[in-house]
Amino acid sequence: MSDDSFEPKIVGFLCNWCSYTASDLAGTARMKYAPNVRIIRVMCSGRVDPTFLLKAFAMGADGVMIAGCHPGDCHYQQQNYKTMRRYAMIEQMLPQMGIERERVKLVWASAAEGQQLAEAIDELSEAVRKLGPLNWSRNWEENGGRIEALEAIVKEHEEALEVQS
């Protein structure tokens, strides 16, 4: 879709200790960056449940940013490594659900890296702008067969469980 007026809507999950502080620093230093990432503060990037991403896409987000402390710098010792593992899984999962993996970006930004965070936001905004609107749930509606197929899988699964027990 080549809509010039398209402004991507991106949800950003920023960890309290590094990236959220970096975004504050970008502000204090009056760095200007794309307005597309709307920020949600979590204590740690490890709190970001992959379902949050699906929720965001289902609600109409075009992209998601997860930002945490650099590997080795986690305020909670090593929880950003768990984010990395989940991110690897998310990257595998997204294309299967009809979402380009470029729509999700994992960023490391220390509390001193306002500039880097601002640049990452600009980059992701541009990347998503190029991809165009996602319209994830609407796409589902247009192709209703998919939902029925998914529901059928769930039903089969439930039946299979009942047989086993």
Binding site: K9, V11, N16, W17, C18, Y20, T21, S23, D24, A26, G27, T28, R30, M31, K32, Y33, P35, R38, I39, I40, R41, V42, M43, C44, G46, R47, V48, D49, P50, T51, F52, L54, K55, A56, A58, M59, G60, A61, C69, G72, D73, H75, Y76, Q77, Q78, Q79, K82, R86, S110, A111, A112, E113, A118, N135, S137, R138, W140, E141, I147, E151
Partner: protein, 675 residues
């Protein structure tokens, strides 16, 4: 899942922050937007919400309009969340029923376009309002604080902080990795601009540390591990083998005198390698503790296993020489930590054009400090390598500083110490002195006056960066002591060549080699150049993002001795204020496992680095130990049964926020599409 809205009476308060916010977006339109959000009873805007009248506005409305939730749309919650929580609490509202929307740092200050800014601000406001409706009243838990402070680094910063805390009758553990405390300051001869002798003002403090009953001094020791949290950090310290018992040694130095090496043979690290020592040595005469140390690499017994062990014999029945000594581990519990690990001088050997390391009479400033120090390797006589007195000396400023190839920052102290060295070298040798500088920076009490004084003493100043130092070869091809220094004199507008027999490189200050590991151990960040990051550059210059860990001295950024002492006092005061309270209130955002829903799969167990999740074999469920949980929420995100609640960061609260930030993009949907 679409979050169901609980009934709530929300008040939204939008701050202008002067023109910081109001100048960047239309606050009236934002207020009108907020007013129409579900469950919002009222929306107001005010010039400065953090001011007393601003806070009173909230308090009054809580009483008059029966608000049970408050959203403050202003700056970062990291700045003012505590302020508005307190205001709510004063008005009888649970402080956790307040949510902030950050539209200053994250919107107003970073968005070019006013319309874009308004749209982004609306999303943040919608998210906060939707989230706050999901908030639950919470109670903070109070835990006791161990009234003991760990200070890492025994330079002037660590010493000052230790003495300040000890003055308040608080226990201090002072850990220094070198064999003596004193740090870089103890290596200096005089201090600028007053020219007090560094040793005269420092050594009384060093001995005071040693004799203070409240201070446990651990030299030649390093912190290895830090666990726990503010109020009760558990630290493990490795006491490296000194091979001489601090308890038994009386400081007679007989072991040094009797060492099988008749004369000092090995370069003394403390003298920057300019002086020599034996394998058993005291780094410098005023070392504290005044106990020698044996270097295992040069000691014949320790390195080769064969020596007459004259030192043991000399010590006799005091039995202080312990050649069998091993490293030992000590563990402490402390309530607060002050990191004062100092700096490392820039090593100029990476700049071949200055000849450091290849030309014998090119020195760093720290080496010159040792050479002019009466307690230094030459007894305070400034001489060239061949023993002669220098006649022409060039001081090269900004070596490694203000240089995009090395450090772009200004090391701040070099101008003043170069002026000081110019004065001292002139006083000692009558040499002709040239200062080659980019800019002379002398902002400080008495600094400019000192600059004038040195100028009047006849020291030459050349404005320009030195490009090259090369040796002068005599007519018959023999090397000489002389060097040619090429400098681009920007005031004359031409390149000048100066011949001199001594070059002093005014090296900058940089973070310690292992600053990375140290900051990770203490859970603190660093700024881009590698110095440790304070919590706020202006308003919390000694705090770190890690509660209970404070900073003092150059490890946080370049500073001179007076500034270091001031900061160390501040860090001590902050640590004192913390540990003196006796207890500390913890944020309640821990994880809780609902045993009804826990299937006992134990996925969460291994995710917790704090071992805060235990498994109840009998019931077959996992349980969070609240005291150990730090509230990262990783287990919450991982629980396949959604049996873990991240308090104050619940799934519902975060999902409400997601719905909020996407308030304007929710697609027309069938209810079937739920995730």
């Amino acid at each position: 899942m679409i979050t169901t809205q609980k009934s709530a009476r929300i008040g939204v308060y939008i701050c202008h922050c002067g023109t910081n916010i109001a100048g960047a977006l239309d606050v009236e339109q934002l207020t009108a937007f907020a007013d129409k959000l579900p469950q919002v009873v009222l929306a107001k805007n005010y010039k400065y919400m953090c001011s007393d009248p601003g806070q009173d506005l909230v308090k009054k409305d809580i009483a008059e309009h029966g608000l049970d939730r408050v959203v403050v749309v202003a700056c970062s919650p990291l700045l003012h969340e505590a302020t508005f929580r307190k205001a709510a609490e004063d008005a009888g509202l649970n402080p956790f029923l307040v949510q902030m929307a950050n539209i200053r740092e994250q919107v107003a200050w970073v968005t070019r376009d006013k319309v874009d800014a308004l749209e982004k601000a609306k999303a943040h406001v919608a998210a906060a309002a939707r989230r706050v409706a999901q908030h639950e009243p919470l109670e903070r838990k109070s835990v006791p604080i161990t009234p003991r402070v760990l200070i890492v680094g025994g330079g002037i910063a660590g010493i000052e902080a230790a003495l300040t805390l000890a003055d308040a009758d608080k226990e201090v553990i002072l850990v220094e990795r070198e064999p003596s405390i004193g740090g870089h300051m103890s290596m200096f001869d005089k201090t600028f601009p007053t020219l007090d002798c560094a040793a005269c003002i420092l050594t009384p403090k060093m001995t005071a540390v040693k004799s203070n009953p409240h201070i446990k001094l651990l030299t030649h020791s390093e912190v290895e591990k830090v666990d726990g949290a503010v109020g009760s950090y558990k630290v493990r310290v490795r006491r490296k083998a000194r091979y001489i018992s601090e308890e038994n040694c009386v400081g007679c130095m007989a072991c040094i005198d009797e060492c099988v090496f008749p004369k000092p043979k090995f370069p003394n690290e403390y003298d920057q390698g300019l002086g020599l020592r034996k394998p058993v040595y005291l780094p410098f005469p005023q070392a504290v503790p005044p106990v020698p140390i044996i270097d295992p690499e040069t000691c014949l017994q320790l390195s080769k296993g064969q020596c007459k062990q004259k030192c043991v014999e000399a010590c006799g029945e005091r039995q202080a020489v312990l050649l069998e000594q091993q490293d030992s581990i000590e563990e402490f519990e402390v309530g607060a930590i002050i990191v004062a690990t100092g700096f490392k001088p820039f090593n100029p050997s990476v700049m071949p054009y200055y000849g450091y390391g290849t030309l014998p009479n090119v020195y760093t400033s720290l080496e010159i400090e040792r050479l002019i120090n009466a307690a230094g390797p030459t007894g305070g006589k400034l001489m060239l390598r061949d023993g002669s007195t220098p006649k022409r000396v060039v001081i090269v400023h900004c070596v490694g500083s203000r240089d995009k190839n090395y450090h772009t920052y200004c090391s701040k102290v070099c101008c003043m110490y170069s002026l000081k060295l110019a004065h001292l070298v002139k006083e000692k040798t009558e040499a002709e002195i040239f200062n080659c500088y980019i800019d002379i920076r002398t902002p400080g009490k008495g600094f400019e006056e000192f600059y004038n004084r040195v100028q009047n003493e006849g020291v030459h100043f050349i404005r320009g960066k030195v490009g090259d130092v090369s040796p002068v070869v005599s007519d018959n091809g023999q090397p000489t002591n002389m060097m040619t220094i090429q400098v681009d004199d920007t005031l004359l507008g031409k390149v000048r060549k100066i011949d001199a027999d001594m070059v002093i490189l005014a090296v900058g200050l940089e973070p310690q080699k292992d600053a990375e590991e140290v900051r990770r151990m203490f859970g603190i960040s660093c700024s881009t150049e590698g110095f440790f990051l304070e919590k706020h550059p202006k308003l919390a210059p000694v705090n770190t993002a890690n509660d209970g860990v404070f900073l003092a001295g150059v490890c946080q950024g370049v500073k001179d001795i007076p500034e270091t002492v001031a900061q160390a006092s501040a860090a001590a005061a902050k640590a004192l204020a913390l540990i003196d309270r006796g207890s500390i209130e913890l944020e309640p955002n821990t994880a809780i496992i609902d045993e009804e829903h826990c299937s006992g799969c134990r996925v969460c167990n291994n995710l917790c680095p704090f071992e805060a999740i235990e498994y109840d074999e009998e019931k077959g469920v996992s349980r969070v130990i609240a005291e150990l949980c730090k509230g990262c929420g990783t287990c919450v995100a991982a629980c396949p049964a959604q049996a873990i609640t991240g308090v104050h960061f619940t799934n519902n609260q975060i999902i409400a926020e997601i719905e909020g930030v996407l308030y304007d993009s929710a697609p027309p949907r069938k209810e079937a599409v739920s995730v």
